[in-house]
Symmetry: C2
Subunit: 336 residues, 2 copies
């Protein structure tokens, strides 16, 4: 089953890992947010892409959610001695990734090709694709003014409230042939439990990308999402506070509303703790699956991935039935 997973950083990487473990080699393509990218110490850093790469390669630092396990910090230590700002911490081996990337980008190689080369070098058979080759930079308007995303996220530890989000450069971003082909070949599309605003949001904002997803849905390819907000709280990061300060509901229902409004969702997976939200989410259109969604270990990644693919298979079959019945009203009712 060829699966495309839309993902941000940690949560997305974990689900992608679960999917990779149950799919045949090469069947998984992860399309990753690059709105978090930054240039720091002249290095082109792509945090979500690298988190996905390291997680799929089995070398991710398990606790902190970024970087490589067992890192050393010689470069950062010396940069600090030289008087440079070091609030965006990069481990030594992680820096090798950024040098590999920066060198090739400077020589005109596309971000997609660089990422595929990194994935191959790390021994992956899964395909990891940046959402676009053009630079997109997420910026947030906050109580501290407009901020670059990592300024808000890392330096200010997400303390300011966010009132507006912009994806700088998105108007010049184009759909890559690789993302387009993956979406056209997909038999299921999975939306990871990443931040719906600043992780999944930029991916959907790449011109032409959402249209490919909607075209896939019309062909009967199911889109299965899962909420990264559980019991009203984000599993990680500021999604809950961002939803609130942007005037949306900080809950699985709020996330479902976003995805349904975008035209995404066939099935939404929510945690058992949110069982009470199943009915209002179903009322929006998608089917709802209630299960354990919190990925605390390798086993729970596989279990969630399996639930999502089972729902996709079931929904795909139902979609095919709908189409063979030639009943557009039924298809519409199912949320298409």
């Amino acid at each position: 089953m060829r699966v495309v997973c839309l993902a941000g950083g940690v949560g997305g990487a974990k689900l992608a890992d679960g999917l990779q473990q149950i799919l045949a080699p090469g069947e998984l393509t992860v399309v990753v947010n690059t709105g978090d990218d930054l240039e720091v110490h002249a290095l082109a850093v792509s945090p979500d892409v690298d988190t996905v790469l390291y997680t799929l390669a089995g070398i991710a630092e398990p606790a902190q959610g970024w970087g490589i396990a067992g890192e050393s910090w010689q470069v950062m230590g010396q940069l600090a001695r030289l008087g440079d700002e070091t609030w965006f911490r990069l481990g030594d081996r992680d820096i090798a990734t950024h040098l590999f990337r920066t060198d090739r980008l400077r020589r005109g190689i596309r971000a997609t090709e660089v990422t595929l080369a990194l994935a191959r070098s790390l021994g992956l058979e899964s395909h990891v694709l940046p959402m676009t080759d053009q630079p997109v930079r997420t910026r947030v308007r906050t109580t501290a003014g407009w901020l670059d995303f990592q300024d808000y996220f890392v330096r200010l530890r997400q303390e300011p409230s966010v009132f507006e989000v912009a994806f700088e450069g998105i108007e010049n971003a184009t759909l890559t042939p690789e993302v387009r082909d993956a979406l056209r070949a997909a038999e299921a599309i999975v939306v990871a439990p990443s931040n719906p605003i600043v992780s999944i949001g930029p991916i959907l904002a790449v011109p032409g990308l959402l249209a490919e997803i909607i075209a896939a849905r019309r062909r009967g390819v199911p889109v299965v999402g899962v909420s990264g907000i559980v019991g009203g709280r984000a599993l990680r990061g500021p999604a809950d506070r961002m939803m609130e300060s942007l005037g949306e509901e900080s809950s699985a229902l709020g996330v479902a509303r976003r995805y349904v409004a975008a035209g995404l969702l066939d099935v939404f997976v929510v945690d058992r703790i949110d069982e009470g939200l199943a009915a209002p989410i179903r009322a929006l259109g998608p089917e709802v699956v209630v299960t354990d969604t919190i990925m605390t270990d390798a086993g729970s990644r596989v279990l969630l991935a399996r639930e999502m693919l089972a729902a996709a298979a079931w929904q795909g079959a139902a979609g095919a039935e709908d189409r063979s019945a030639g009943d557009p009203a039924a298809a519409k009712e199912a949320g298409r």
Copy 2:
């Protein structure tokens, strides 16, 4: 005594260290070859400048002649795992220097300002100046064809013979205000025992730089050189073989000929082993001082620096006498 030292890498750095130890803080300016510079893994690396910086800061690796003492190699190790070429080895803390430099150069800061900032960060009171702010790249025509300098020097271990040397970009290089001001304020100019062809050569080729040295000589500022070829062999690197394959004599006399032809030399310091060359060198014009020139430890650096400054002081006084005597013939005889 305000001293300007023209220097390449290791030998130049050692002599500069000796000079720094006997001069008052801030009196030493080292003008360093940048023809060896390269871009590798997207990093702007300036090997001779860094060797001088590290040596003056007391953090240079003592044995290999480049890099920082006690380095770790995590970044290189990971780059190798990613499949990148790693024949130009960079230690982790050394990489911090290159990130510091690359970041600032990309933001349009001049190489001179970056180097002065690095020197300050490393706690130096001496001034270290790249010979120019524009990129100059030494290339060599060899038995293996035209090669980038580090390709010849590091990758091919200086094995091919060199038949021609070019300083790519030198026509667009300009004298920096900092180098000009240092030369105008100098009370002595010291030419380090670096490779006369590819270390001192590029410095003298910067348009306008040699003219400033010659103008300084006319004002009675002595130029004191020392041979990096001792007993016919280069103390380090391929200077002897390069001199031979370029049709010059591989000896202190050959080096003196080069410097005299350029219009440089008032005093030339040769090793005791080359005492027999004192007369033929004197016949070219410069005074000759015979002493121990091989810098095996901190003490010998200071001794050589002291000999050179003593010769400069003596020659400076003699030069002043020549001028006060108003005897241009005598001045000419002294090699001017």
